[in-house]
Symmetry: C2
Subunit: 206 residues, 2 copies
DNA sequence: GTTTGTGAAACGATTCACAGCT
DNA sequence: AGCTGTGAATCGTTTCACAAAC
């Protein structure tokens, strides 16, 4: 497949959200212009985004909501389920375990780990926090595709190496560091400090 | 000022993080190449990023760590403090109130709000959750520059309108919706569902 | 008449490459 | 000699504009 811009992938995800709203409202068809207006982009952008993957519309009519939603789910790989582990049972980690959006989008959290003995054994949403020392073993048996890292920055790279060695293919990283991973592993980093600083910049330079 | 690419702002934030590490290690000067290696980019990119704001280095020598860090803090507007309110006292909201990174980066959380009466009155990190109905009044007296939205998607736009009317200039949005705001207000959205779907895409198309 | 799909044009960001300073 | 600062070249993404389908 041709190389797809990251920005296109993000927009496909947005479009899918809108289509699901439209589905809920019983709307049967939608035009690129309507999706564009909803997503703050242009109709040409919407059509170009789709064109990377094929042609899903009917000229003069637009797109049928259900069919397009189905295609986008397929493209985004949301027509299957993933197993995920959470590493770090601090405030954010334990909040994430309880986040319904994961399950809703096909991600099943199968375990949560922490290094801190005082946190091991605590139950979050039916999941008992396990000792990080169990992680390498556990990865061999449960074989999760995805890991969510919510450790302090200092621990994140070390944890990453264990996860990668254990066969994890995707990482959602909340630690404020740039993780080094082999090519076959994908990382998406959510860096709060960075977002705050970008906000600060926008407020300062106005 | 010339229009600065968002990607440049994000990298400046990264460079600052590295410089702070170097400061801690007592390293006095650094070259664009060293910063680039640390940040996964190129030395030309680093220099170009800086060049939007002036010339901070010495040819043949590089940059002095302390001076450069100071300049970046200035550019990013981190040489002052901001008042912030958190709206939504759910799992993520209450975890964020306790997040030390905010205070560390100059953001003081001055209040937290929720619509749910059963949550009002609960104390998080010394801050008593207030009824969302108090928000318009409170904004007039405390005048926070920044708001952090951690409500369900359905409530986010309504809350945004109240915040904007109350003079908030920057919003960090964790609700999975695109907020509509006037031009003078900046929004940074952290959309977990979207990050997960981008990860799913990366795993699927390999 | 309306809306898609798509090459071509325009725009914006990154990389190159080198003159100029230390 | 080493490294910065920057105009020029390259690369990638967005926008334009229109022929083709309904």
């Amino acid at each position: 497949m041709r190389k797809i811009p990251e920005s296109t992938v993000r927009r496909l995800s947005l479009y899918l959200r809108f289509l699901e709203e439209f589905e809920g409202q019983g709307i049967a068809t939608v035009s690129s212009g309507e999706l564009a207006a909803r997503g703050g982009t242009t109709s040409a952008q919407v059509r170009k985004d789709f064109s990377f993957f094929g042609s899903f519309g009917k000229r003069g009519l637009g797109y049928t909501v259900q069919e397009l939603a189905g295609r986008l789910r397929e493209i985004l790989g949301l027509d299957r389920r993933y197993k995920a582990v959470v590493v770090g049972a601090g405030k954010i980690g334990s909040a994430l375990v309880q986040y319904r959006g994961f399950r809703l989008r096909g991600f099943d959290v199968v375990a949560i780990y922490d290094r801190d003995r005082t946190k091991v054994g605590i139950e979050w949403d039916g999941l008992v926090t396990r000792d990080i020392a169990c992680l390498p073993q556990d990865l061999q048996t449960s074989r999760p595709e995805i890991a969510i890292i919510v450790t302090p920055g200092e621990a994140a790279q070390q944890v990453t190496d264990v996860l990668v060695a254990g066969g994890v293919l995707g990482i959602l990283n909340f630690a404020p560091v740039q993780l080094v991973v082999p090519d076959h592993v994908s990382v998406k980093t959510v860096n709060l400090a960075l977002e705050l600083e970008a906000l600060s910049f926008a407020l300062t330079n106005r």
